[in-house]
Symmetry: C2
Subunit: 390 residues, 2 copies
């Protein structure tokens, strides 16, 4: 939980964004944004819910399902009157919809003719949510305010950074648990279980939260595709495995990926690995406030091009507070044409995964932008780990 | 992985639903529905993707991000030509959108003037996805086909039921792990870690998959709200804890909730528990093919009313294949006005949680509807567990 002062700062920055977008009311649906503004923390985002910010009101509203309202009272900073809920027959009904309730509420509050911002592409703000808003608020002007709160979240407070340092500690432990457990004859799910145990145990002095993405552990030719999870197959000698996981502390996620070979790795894998390591060193040395995300991407592109390699996908993105299904913040990406300017206290997952037809190499770093450059949040050997096997 | 025959049956039933809805093309966005139709299994649903079914084509199309296409080739049954991907600069961009790509593709295939079904309220089909479809396909008639595939999923095949039996075994083990670990002085996250370990380990002969919802472990007054997860606080003597978790096997989820007291439970808790147990017995005894979901709900309501209790929220819902954020199928709910008729091989989570201002009792059963009644998928003592503590 953050101080009232910190929530007030977040809210004021959000209201400043609302002014820039020209909206008096902002309807948030992304659970990460809802939590960022109010503190609300529960796995209830499988039903529709919203946080509504009014430019002229001190406290936002939380609206969700009846059984979750108590959880909102317990986890948010607002007064209980600002926690509202819709009846249970609105849940997953083909007749009633929670956004009918929300539109009606805005009408009752006299906001039916206002400029209202919505997160049109946010997780859980479905086409139907927007349809019900359009139909329920015919006099309003609905505007897509996009990632407004995402941009506010970009620069972290000292307390947020302290949370991310704890998450970074956890991901180091979880990766070490994977390194220790993985072996010929061990099942993929048993490695996943060891990772989970470390992620949730955390440390002796603080506990882990659930990361926003489950362990991703593709093996063999599957390493050509990064988002496969695991099976109950047993590892064989010579298997290549990419491991992409996060540590999480109070919803702040710090990811890391490494590549493991059970026994000696193939030359083509080691060759890619060597180029990736050089690319990481040179790119991280370049990153500092004032440079753009596109410039960061181009340093990477130039290093690997020297060796004849190229990569189509982005090489990183901002991270922080998050809920499933993603630990990225969806604002800055390290890629061509992203001219966002880096500033101190932004945090990124530098993610230069290389994926081919039947193998891949993933080695990544989560980094904090400082006044003069970057600080790596984790300290974990980056080389391809060739585990000795029988 | 299911047989080609089973996927063909699923596809044909889906096409039958398309005929009923009057659409020639169906765009699926819910990852559970995408997997049900194609087998696609990866944690890639944090970027937009779709499976498209054409009423006059044998195989659906999968469309996603470039780095995920290989995973689609490896996990789906379709020919590689039916796996298509959009360029990476469509990912989380404020300029390009994956559904621009999808609309363009439909135009190129000559489907721009067709009746096209979309899952308007599906997870991950955002307002923006629908906007891009409307703008990109001005001659098409877009129709909300709602939970079309959800209704197909409702009746499980023998193989699906065999998967759910494995998931049921896993949730029993996970609940036992929680019972064993929870104690005065233990941290909430340590109980969560024990649950995870059992969930992912599975059994000696098959491994566990990740459940679609993380362990929910509210403690003390938090038990009045079911979807809170955990903290790193240590349990105290007298704490009441509700534990709602699932076991998962190859994406099939079987949930279970139980209520634990560290030491003697309060009378008000035991009183509710007693009524809940009687309500469960009587309601489960009533369930059989031919009865409606509303009738099931009313048996429950009548039992608890005898003791002066009432419950606003639904008392259960269909379950099966699922991805985060939900293990429910969003079709049948046990509640007033849901006149869906029960049939053999439907599977439900009977979930009569009772939540009050400062405490709650959750005791649930996952059940299979048989030819003559029901079979409980799990066998685990239902009583409130008053653990002996120091």
């Amino acid at each position: 939980m953050f101080s009232r002062k910190e929530y007030k700062t977040r809210l004021n920055r959000t209201k400043q964004g609302m002014l820039q977008h020209g909206v008096e009311v902002l309807v948030l649906s992304n659970p990460s944004n809802m939590c960022y503004i109010t503190g609300y923390n529960a796995w209830s985002f499988y039903v529709h819910q919203a946080v509504i910010v009014f430019i002229d009101e001190k406290e936002p509203l939380w609206i969700g399902r009846g059984m979750d309202a108590k959880g909102a009272e317990l986890t948010t900073w607002m007064k209980p009157e600002n926690i509202l809920h819709y009846p249970d027959d609105y849940v997953q009904s083909s007749i009633k919809h929670p956004f009918d309730f929300i539109a009606e509420l805005l009408l009752e509050k006299g906001k039916g003719d206002r400029k209202i911002g919505v997160e049109l592409d946010a997780f859980y703000y479905t086409g139907k949510c927007h349809e019900r808003m359009l139909i329920g608020l015919p006099e309003a002007e609905l505007k897509d305010t996009g990632r407004l709160v995402g941009w506010v979240r970009l620069i972290k407070s000292d307390k947020e950074i302290s949370y991310m340092r704890k998450a970074a500690y956890i991901v180091e432990q979880a990766m070490q648990a994977a390194y220790d457990r993985i072996d010929v004859g061990v099942r993929e799910n048993d490695v996943a279980a060891a990772i989970y145990n470390a992620q949730i145990y955390g440390s002796d002095t603080f506990g882990g939260d659930y990361p926003s993405i489950v362990p991703m552990l593709p093996t063999g030719e599957q390493t050509g595709s990064p988002h496969l999870t695991w099976t109950d197959q047993r590892y064989k000698k010579g298997d290549l495995v990419t491991i992409e996981i996060a540590g999480a502390y109070r919803r702040y996620n710090v990811p890391m990926a490494r590549t493991v070979s059970l026994g000696k790795a193939e030359d083509r894998v080691l060759d890619v690995g060597k180029v990736v390591l050089e690319g990481i060193e040179e790119t991280l040395a370049f990153i500092k406030p004032g440079h753009t995300a596109a410039e960061v991407s181009s340093v990477w592109t130039n290093v690997i091009a020297k060796y004849g390699y190229e990569k189509e996908s982005r090489v990183g993105y901002s991270i922080g507070l998050s809920y499933p299904p993603d630990w990225g913040e969806h604002t800055i990406s390290f890629r061509k044409n992203d001219n966002s300017i880096l500033e101190p206290n932004m945090v990124f997952h530098f993610m230069p995964g290389m994926w081919y037809e039947d193998f891949g190499v993933s080695i990544t770093e989560s980094i904090l932008v400082t006044e003069t450059g970057i600080e790596r949040l984790t300290s974990f050997n980056r080389e391809i780990y060739e585990k000795e096997v029988e």
